[in-house]
Amino acid sequence: MTDLTKLTMAEARDGLKKKSFSALELTDAFLAAIEVANPALNAYVLPTPDHARAQAKESDKRLAAGNARPLEGLPIGNKDLFCTKDIRTTACSNILGHFKPPYESTVGQNLWDAGAIMLGKLNNDEFAMGSSNETSAFGNVVSPWRRKAGDGKYTSVKLVPGGSSGGSSAAVAADLCLAATATDTGGSIRQPAALTGTVGMKPTYGRCSRWGIVAFASSLDQAGPIAKTVRDAAMMLKTMASHDPKDTTSVDAPVPDYEAVLGKGIKGLRVGVPKEYRVDGMSKEIQKLWDEGIAWLKAAGATIHDISLPHTKYALPAYYIVAPAECSSNLARYDGMRYGLRVNGNNLIDTYEKTRAAGFGKEVRRRILIGTYVLSAGYYDAYYLKAQKVRTLIKNDFDEAWNKVDVVLTPTTPSPAFAFGEKTGDPLAMYLEDIFTVTVNMAGLPGVSVPAGLSPEGTPLGLQLIGKPFDEETLFRTAQVIEDAAGRFAVPAKWWTKG
């Protein structure tokens, strides 16, 4: 039998339909792969084999009865930021301890109602704050990719899978699930996708319900999929997206059939290339990749237009006011009283302070303090209000661009995957990882990262497409053109299976 874990989600769907294998066989193949890989990669913080097999058996019944749902029997991973009913959810923070939500996230519920199978909970940066999956209370996720040395041999240097959805990106790249849920506040879907050769789609703010997703920065957080192919990402988003009365920011608009637009081509599509993204210090390979992307889209019939997004350079500093401010406010709920960790002190305030000092990791504490500072008496106008006004200007830049173009093409990251510890010393160096992705969150737009090439060291690189609000269809259509031109990038060697 072929290795079922190597299938794409669409191929697995076809295989189940043709009865080439059962949902249980497919699920068992992934559970076996997780058991072998997880000690090395640490992608899953909680595999849920019994839960998965029970769902698979139900799926097999439905497949046999001919009433399969859209994602029937397809095993996926679920980021630990998504609440799962009666299954431990921690946001990879010690402060949530052994929290077992008595409810399911809306995005998760949509997936299970469509027949998808949950293999387990995936690692992420603590409360989704990080770009390398180095801040998780469960330890680092290791990328399945490795760098080549000058002699062409792969080194054993451990690389980051990106973050915050590092468990999602690593698991998809390492064939430990067909696809995964993820969330993106400043690039947490697209950056890890770019660093692992996977497709990551952050939809428009409001496309997916945020209900039941542990909150980080509520005006920026959005759920989306990480998948092996553009088609798989389209299948996932179609099911994840919905209007939800439980999230007033979720939009009451029909969800298109994203798969239906794939292969329709991009003849006549107007593609914008923003000059402000040609930043100082951009690596040569990224520049080359971008030029290749432009050539591919041109060859497919698109027209290329130079555009200007003049406020781009202010997006990241504005983000590092808005996100910590909202984080400090959201994370005020972790007080050790109603759920999660409690460390007893001499009095109530001492208990709060000890609980939060012990429960939150270093980066989370740092962001709460920044957020508390910028929201403290006398500073609100100078920081938060100012940053929200800059957001309007960033959004206006895009509104202007949409008069001339239909989609914007940029690199996803300024450089290829880095090794552990390379950027942890300096918070600002790590924050720069999000320089190309964060504008999209600030303006609330949809963005997708598509694998487009390899660095000279053999590690994956991604291109980002940015679209008009609620025009994910154009992004999927264009992303498919890039995928067709660039090909797919599979991990060259599953080094963790040896010895």
């Binding site: 009451d252 590092y320 007080d335 009283m337 302070e353 504490r365 508390t372 600002l428």
Partner: protein, 95 residues
């Protein structure tokens, strides 16, 4: 912008996070660095700009003012560090 140790202590108290002396020293530098860096926003003239509220203008939905959920005290207290008879047990609040 220089954040001094007293400021670190003040915001740590506001945020209800205990900070050790060694940590406070490191935070002075880190927070100053980040706040200096975000200061570049001062270059942008925002005097005639409204703050962003949402991506696409949308009328806030209204619903009937009725109870939609309830009688789930077990579920609500299930994760409490300490609970008794559907009450959260907390340290003494009033001396």
């Amino acid at each position: 912008m220089q954040v001094d140790e007293a400021t670190v202590r003040r915001i740590a108290r506001l945020a209800r996070i205990e900070v050790s002396d060694a940590e406070a020293k490191g935070l002075e530098k880190e927070l100053s660095g980040i706040l200096d860096w975000v200061k570049q926003l001062d270059e942008v003239d925002t005097s005639a700009v409204e703050p962003m509220t949402r991506v696409v203008a949308q009328k806030l939905k209204m619903r009937d003012d009725v109870v939609t959920d309830g009688n789930i005290a077990d579920a609500i207290t299930a994760n409490a560090p300490l609970a008794e008879d559907h009450y959260f047990v907390v340290p003494k609040v009033v001396e």
